[in-house]
């Protein structure tokens, strides 16, 4: 028939069968949260940003393709649309990150007050460059633009907290603290943002539903046992 088309350098693209639902890994809590958040919007797709935050939390701090597929499936939209949204916003991590993310501002005010020194110091201390993760998976160092806290320059965002008026000494102490702390992790940041999307009553609702499900499944287990 026709001449074979020589685009041989490229392997044939992987094909995804959209009719097969992707593997679902959201926890019961995540499902409950997404259920509530969806009700805030006129259509399901509008809940994409909080849904991605839930996914970022559920998938341990970043969004692998499977996470995007799960969000797309749960919102009834196509995989590509979710990927488009996720790649548009910088706070969704598309690649694996460390347990804690150190985001150092080097915008105008911070750089005048020593933002770059802080960054260099961190690079030296952690032995990585900005944008990289330490080999032990503890820290990811990122250079970011204005964090809107110029009064406390130089500023660094760690998870859900800002640390201002930094000096190298302060940073050292902070690092030690963070190493042993469960606070301010990437996952925790995602959770904080998810909780911002829920009202107090909704949060209580979820707790009740989870407790009920727990009791129900516990009861069943008991029966089975």
């Amino acid at each position: 028939m026709s001449e074979a088309i020589r685009l041989s350098e490229y392997p044939r693209a992987k094909r995804i069968d959209e009719r097969q639902p992707p593997e679902l890994r959201f926890s019961e809590r995540a499902v409950q949260e997404l259920e509530r958040i969806k009700r805030h919007y006129p259509n399901k797709r509008a809940a994409m940003l909080p849904a991605l935050w839930i996914a970022q939390r559920e998938y341990g701090g970043h969004l692998p393709p499977e996470a995007l597929m799960e969000v797309a499936y749960r919102l009834g939209t196509s995989y590509a649309v979710v990927e488009g949204v996720a790649t548009f916003y910088t706070m969704y991590n598309k690649r694996p990150v460390g347990r804690v993310m150190l985001e150092v501002c080097t915008n105008l005010t911070c750089s005048i007050c020593g933002g770059y020194e802080i960054l260099r110091h961190l690079e030296e201390k952690l032995g990585i460059r900005a944008g990289e993760t330490t080999p032990d998976g503890q820290f990811t160092l990122v250079e970011v633009e204005c964090l809107n806290d110029c009064g406390n320059a130089p500023v660094m965002q760690v998870g859900n907290r800002y640390f201002g008026r930094l000096t190298p000494e302060k940073v050292d102490a902070l690092l030690e603290e963070l190493k042993n702390s469960e606070e301010h992790t990437v996952v925790q940041l995602a959770d904080t943002i998810v909780q911002c999307h829920l009202s107090e009553s909704e949060r209580q609702d979820i707790e009740r539903a989870l407790a009920k499900a727990q009791a129900g499944s516990g009861g069943q287990d008991g029966q089975n046992g």
């Binding site: 001449e3 088309i5 020589r6 685009l7 041989s8 350098e9």
Partner: protein, 158 residues
């Protein structure tokens, strides 16, 4: 009367002599011959003479032609046929993605206007000074890519 005859003589013969003097001045003892013994001798061509087409190559031997068909589009006689195909790393004919798999010029149709040369974005097709294009069969006037392509240049001596 005699003066009249003399006048008429001068009037007729002098221009003749003048004319012939030009003729004689261009004759061998006074002037090099202009005609050349054609098949043995060839007159040098002007640098911008437009005769037989040549498809040029780069110094590294790759074809310049990328099969873009712009020459065919520019050709007022519609005598160029180009069929392009895709280069691969194993079979590379030209730099880039595309090369001409078939490149044919119908020399019977060609009017040697040189528009193809002008249209060519890579300077691949040029009209050179080979004017000996006569042949015995119509089909022989379809010049294929193999006939048109320059030989691969010899590697330059250091």
């Amino acid at each position: 009367m005699i003066t009249q005859v003399a006048k008429r003589f001068v009037k007729t013969v002098l221009p003749l002599a003048q004319g012939l003097s030009i003729t004689f001045r261009h004759q061998p003892p006074f002037h090099e011959p202009i005609t050349v013994e054609y098949p043995e001798q060839k007159r040098p061509m002007y640098p911008r003479t437009r005769w037989r087409h040549v498809l040029r190559r780069y110094d590294n031997g790759l074809e310049r032609c990328i099969g873009c068909s712009l020459c065919a589009g520019a050709c007022p006689a519609r005598c160029i046929y180009v069929e392009a195909a895709e280069n691969t790393d194993e079979h590379r004919f030209s730099p880039g993605e595309r090369y001409a798999r078939r490149y044919e010029i119908n020399m019977l149709r060609c009017i040697f206007c040189g528009y193809c040369q002008e249209a060519c974005p890579t300077g691949a097709i040029v009209l050179r000074d080979d004017y000996e294009l006569a042949d015995y069969h119509r089909s022989d006037f379809i010049y294929t890519k193999e006939m048109l392509l320059e030989p691969i240049p010899e590697p330059q001596e250091e």
